[in-house]
């Protein structure tokens, strides 16, 4: 087997890749900082975030408040958007010169692309799509537990001889740590040569509907809306959220199938789900099981949805929503 570019004895520290898009950190990077903090503490090691982009240094503070001891920042106009070649080259350079022992990345579309390239170039292994991470007792090796339902079941994978020990983790697997604004850490700007990309971005198009599974706020309509989603849309826009629907609402043709949440729809994990006029059948509630806060509005005080809700409002959606929207508007001003 080929050897990695540096040896276990030289390697030190746990790194987390901080993916950003349009000047915003991807949630999975912060989730990995939370888990990374625990792993680094178990190893008595330093937790480092790596941030690439153009004009992204302000994001480093956010990473520190989420648990990083140090953030390495590489800024260059050529890194304005993700391109396989520029990002791989730049990151390769940083890893080679600083020799981390463990390197974790989010299994986002770009993260998967980057991690695989990087691992091949570093001549090391990559445990892709982990659903959990741990540290082996005694050896301090990274243990990556991977999803195995494409054939096997659960596999625990380690990488004893090659460095860095790399793993990607799906978004949403680990909870996001509570930020501590007062945490202190170092921000180090690195000078890394970035050559011109072979890839030219002709046009960027962002899909009209973002993925429901990653939405932070969901406003969900059920049979009780009788097909009128206008107020729900207004509320969703105000909160920067997206619309979702129960199967009854979708079957009735009030919402597209892509909005369906539940057992045969999407399983979501928003911070906030506002459920309007849905009875709370289990086939629906499995789709919001992972929501942090559930607010339910239903005219029937006996509706099962209230058992899942953190806040329950027994009222007509059309009476309650206008008042809520007005209040939020006022608070925003």
């Amino acid at each position: 087997m080929v050897e990695s570019l540096y040896k276990p004895e030289e390697a030190k520290g746990l790194w987390v890749y901080l993916e950003q898009t349009d000047g915003k950190l991807e949630g999975v990077g912060l989730e990995l900082l939370g888990k990374g903090r625990a792993l680094a503490d178990a190893l008595g090691d330093k937790l480092t975030g790596v941030l690439l982009g153009d004009g992204v240094e302000p994001l480093a503070r956010e990473a520190i408040s989420h648990g990083a001891d140090e953030v390495l920042v590489v800024e260059n106009p050529r890194l304005d958007v993700y391109r396989t070649d520029t990002y791989t080259n730049a990151l390769f350079h940083v890893v080679r010169s600083h020799k981390p022992s463990i390197f974790l990345l989010g299994a986002t579309p770009n993260g998967r692309d980057l991690a695989a390239r990087l691992a091949a170039r570093l001549r090391t292994g990559l445990t892709a799509d982990c659903v959990d991470l741990g540290i082996e007792e005694g050896t301090g090796l990274l243990l990556g537990i991977t999803a195995g339902f494409g054939g096997g079941i659960l596999a625990t994978i380690k990488c004893p001889n090659h460095r860095p020990q790399m793993a990607t983790v799906r978004p949403g697997v680990f909870p996001r740590p509570v930020p501590e604004a007062k945490r202190r850490g170092k921000i180090r700007r690195l000078d890394v040569p970035v050559q011109e990309s072979a890839i030219q971005v002709l046009e960027r198009r962002v899909g009209a509907e973002a993925d429901l599974t990653t939405a932070k706020v969901l406003v969900i309509g059920g049979g009780g809306t009788r097909g009128d989603f206008r107020l729900l849309k207004e509320l969703a826009d105000l909160l920067g959220g997206q619309l979702g629907a129960t199967r009854v609402a979708v079957d009735a043709g009030w919402a597209p199938r892509e909005w369906q949440i539940g057992q045969t729809g999407y399983v979501t994990r928003p911070k906030l789900a506002i459920v309007c006029g849905a009875s709370g059948a289990m086939q629906f509630t499995v789709g919001i099981e992972g929501a942090e806060t559930v607010v339910a509005i239903n005219i029937d005080g006996e509706a099962p949805i209230f058992e899942y809700a953190d806040y329950g409002i027994v009222d007509d959606v059309f009476a309650f929503l206008p008042a809520l929207i007005e209040q939020i508007r006022r608070l925003k001003h």
């Binding site: 659903v131 339902f149 057992q263 059948a281 289990m282 086939q283 499995v286 099981e289 099962p304 058992e307």
Partner: protein, 384 residues
């Protein structure tokens, strides 16, 4: 058939398909009765072309449609009419196992199996919440000197609607003087979702572990709420306790009725029709017990739907279809509630959690009023 297609045969593919399906398709002589009896034919032309698929496997050709593989509800309507006794759904599930290995699996199903793995139920609910269905009922943990172990199941434990069925059953058992207990928080999924998704590698491991649990607690007579759990235990679990006897609750209650332990004291004047769950009827031959129970209730008038017993129309919820979306115009349960409405019954009675969910949902979609869906247990409890 449209334009002629060129096909290439090779021995390796033939051998692989034969191994995977365990040769179940070998006896088929291509009569086509299966295709004609499959309920998918009622909602669309050529959705599941069973005979074609069986023939392809016989010849050593991979399935030409991934979709039809996942449509099968394992209702066994085809099996009931096949003159060669081919267990078609088992063959379909075996082909699904191949799809798992190739990663060609419908969205969502991975997550369901993970839920079973982590939470012991397919709904991602915490295992610690499992016993909450019995709140206020005083249901004790099973001990070996109990007459029966009541295996509640995942849907009756967690689904608010189906919890009512489990609660009714507890009432019935108590009033009949049966000593029973449940596994409480230790109860786990029977594994029906794993089996019906066709993940045979995980299934084997899962069943082995679960069967040991039954042996450990000394469970012999195990009464289930759901025909799916019953089918799992009866057909796929080894007997590790020596005398392991799974029963569907309708069988057990019919026995209690015969022994005079279950007695009706109240009249329930109502016209009902009974929907045979596939997993109780066609798959396990239990047709008469639920009917005997219903007919023994004073005041109950049982009228049959056009298609009953062996001919009963599937609700569409078997074979893992509870976790795969079905277009509204293709749901068998929409047709079934119409058949029920035609009998003039006020209650559509059935004995399976999935049937209740599908049928109730269809009442909303089709917009039928004056008809309610209830479980046999609910009406029996009402009459005691």
């Amino acid at each position: 058939m449209g334009a002629m297609a060129e096909v290439t045969f090779d021995d390796a593919t033939w051998e692989r398909l034969f191994q995977i399906t365990g040769g179940v398709f070998a006896p088929c002589f291509s009569c086509g009765v299966c295709t004609a009896s499959c309920p998918w034919g009622l909602v669309g032309e050529g959705k599941v072309r069973i005979r074609d698929l069986v023939r392809r496997i016989q010849l050593g050709l991979d399935p030409d449609s991934e979709e039809s593989l996942w449509l099968c509800t394992t209702c066994a309507a085809c099996v009931a009419s096949c003159p060669r006794g081919v267990d078609i759904p088992e063959g379909f599930l075996a082909l699904r196992s191949q799809a798992w290995r190739e990663g060609k699996v419908p969205r969502n199903l991975h997550a369901v199996l993970w839920a079973v793995h982590w939470d012991a139920n397919p709904y991602r609910r915490p295992p610690t919440h499992r016993p909450l269905w019995a709140k206020g009922l005083e249901v004790k943990e099973f001990t070996p000197d109990d007459e029966v172990l009541y295996y509640v199941g995942c849907t009756p434990s967690y689904d608010r609607r189906i919890q009512k069925v489990a609660r009714s059953l507890v009432e019935i058992l108590k009033r009949s003087g049966v000593s029973f207990g449940t596994l409480g928080e230790r109860e786990r999924c029977c594994g029906d979702s794993i089996r019906s998704f066709g993940h045979d590698a995980y299934l084997r491991r899962y069943v082995e572990g679960h069967a040991k649990l039954f042996a450990e607690v000394g469970a012999k007579t195990v009464v289930t709420t759901s025909p799916h759990c019953y089918d799992m235990f009866r057909r796929y679990y080894p007997d590790l306790s020596g005398g392991f006897q799974p029963l569907h609750y309708t069988e057990y209650l019919a026995r209690l009725l015969e022994e005079g332990r279950l007695r009706f004291t109240r009249e329930v004047p109502v016209r009902v029709t009974y929907h045979d769950p596939c997993y109780l009827g066609r798959r396990n031959g239990v047709y008469e017990e639920p009917r005997k129970l219903l007919q023994a209730i004073p005041g109950v008038e049982l009228v049959e739907m056009r298609e009953n017993r062996e001919q009963a129309l599937c609700c569409g919820g078997g074979g893992g279809r509870m976790w795969m979306e079905t277009k509204p115009e293709e749901r068998f349960s929409n047709l079934r509630v119409q058949q029920a409405a035609e009998t003039g019954a006020e209650l559509l009675v059935t004995a399976c959690p999935h049937c209740i969910t599908c049928l109730e949902d269809s009442l909303k979609v089709v917009g039928i009023s004056g008809l309610r869906v209830v479980d046999v247990a609910e009406i029996v409890a009402q009459a005691m």
